[in-house]
Amino acid sequence: MTITTFKLNLGPQHPSTHGVLRLILELEGEKILSCEPDVGYLHRGMEKMAERMSYIQYLPLVDRIDYLAGFFYSELYCRIVEKALNIELSQRVKFIRVIMLELNRIASHLLWIGAFLMDLGAISPYFYAFREREMILRYFEKLTGQRMMYNYFVFGGIRRDIGYIEDIEEILKILPVKLNDYERIITENPIFISRTKGKGILTKYTALNYSITGVNLRASGISYDVRNTDYLYEGLKYKPVVLYSCDAWARYKARILEIRESVTLIKQVIEYLKSCSPTEQKPISPLNLKLPEGNYYGEIEAPRGMASCYVESVGEDRPYRLKWRTGSYYSVNLLRKLLVGNYLNDAIAIAGSLDIILPEVDK
């Protein structure tokens, strides 16, 4: 009997590729011999557009780099402009931004939990996770007028002062209880454990070599979190979540623990906001905004790994060159290595556990 290999297209329409990821797999039976990701179905030319638009024109677009965690890219872009113009943010504005970022991180992780479990064939957690995410999105809609593309952070401040703090407190009260429910349904579920424990082992060396950052890196035992050195988080108590089993299960568990960590962060911030007066910092006027000549760099801990932005200005009203670094792009590149040697049915579980989102990959 001769053994032949064949190629299989996974995606771009496959439901568990979350949109538009295409993987070209070479199979021998059900065993994966090689994997080649094919991206670009969602390319919008974000970097080229930046060179054509003034700084304020580009700001609403930035949310769309990762539509599940728009606040992070908004913050990153505003941060660059503020750095270039030497704008100091007031403590209140900084902490309002922290609340938004952390709520956004929770919403993003919740969506991932739902989608990941659906990839594995469990339907109910999807609805549970979306129910809790809905609370957060409702709050965002109340405050910013938008459920996903917020455009709430502006250069030197925020568009309007925070309100409806009682809504956040309600969310924080409900969320830990629901997380306990998830853990009872998912974490201890024997089917879930057998599909994720020991699957998709990402060693420390491989993770660093493939430039994996964020939760995926911390689930491989390396405590690297940009929030430790982030000026927004100064004065807040925060403990990075580090797990050592390096498999898909660890990446799931790390996200659950991250949500709990975010909840404690938001609680600390709300304590502060209640004690300070609601004076609001006025954002700067974006008309005729020109950055001084030079290059500016900023990084942030986004839900899908470290994101960074590099802007080179020649003193015009638009960047000479703008470059985004997004976490998902490197996770897609990692699939070349991580899927090899596994079986096709595990491919979905492994790819899903990395939390890849395609608008971030294609930019």
Partner: protein, 144 residues
């Protein structure tokens, strides 16, 4: 980090602001930083086209152990040395730069059109890139 050793090993290397600017020997310099100073995370590679149409490639290295950043910049024209044998993440970065700027990385066999279709002509992030189809582009200077 004491970059003094860089002076000895790489001729013509200079320090401008926070980055080391190399004349040559890119691969050797990255290998040196990886092996001797444990700069084991290549955060990204940034390409910027200069006014004279040459490209500045900036390698942003990070050491997880020492929590340190290192920027290495090299000026290239159409070709550069690939570093995928040191950092596998460079497959992604180099491919993106090839697609957007048209730089060939010698030794990287994964290069292909990434975001753009296989048949696409031109490299979009070049400053002289002109799109012939005016339905797809606008030009402020010529009011197209």
């Amino acid at each position: 980090m004491n970059i003094g050793e860089f002076w000895n090993i790489f001729e013509g290397a200079e320090l401008v602001e926070n980055r080391i600017i190399l004349k040559d020997d890119l691969h050797k310099a990255l290998q040196f930083a990886l092996e001797n100073y444990s700069f084991n995370l290549l955060k990204d590679i940034t390409a910027v086209e200069k006014r004279d149409k040459s490209i500045d490639l900036t390698y942003h290295l990070y050491s997880v152990e020492n929590d340190e950043d290192l920027l290495i910049t090299i000026n290239v024209w159409n070709e550069a040395e690939s570093v995928i044998d040191l950092f596998k993440s460079a497959i992604a970065d180099e491919n993106e730069i090839y697609d957007m700027f048209g730089i060939k990385f010698i030794g990287n066999e994964y290069l292909k059109r990434l975001y753009m279709p296989e048949s696409w002509e031109g490299f979009p992030l070049r400053k002289d890139y002109i799109q012939s189809d005016e339905r797809l582009a606008w030009d402020d200077d010529n009011n197209v």
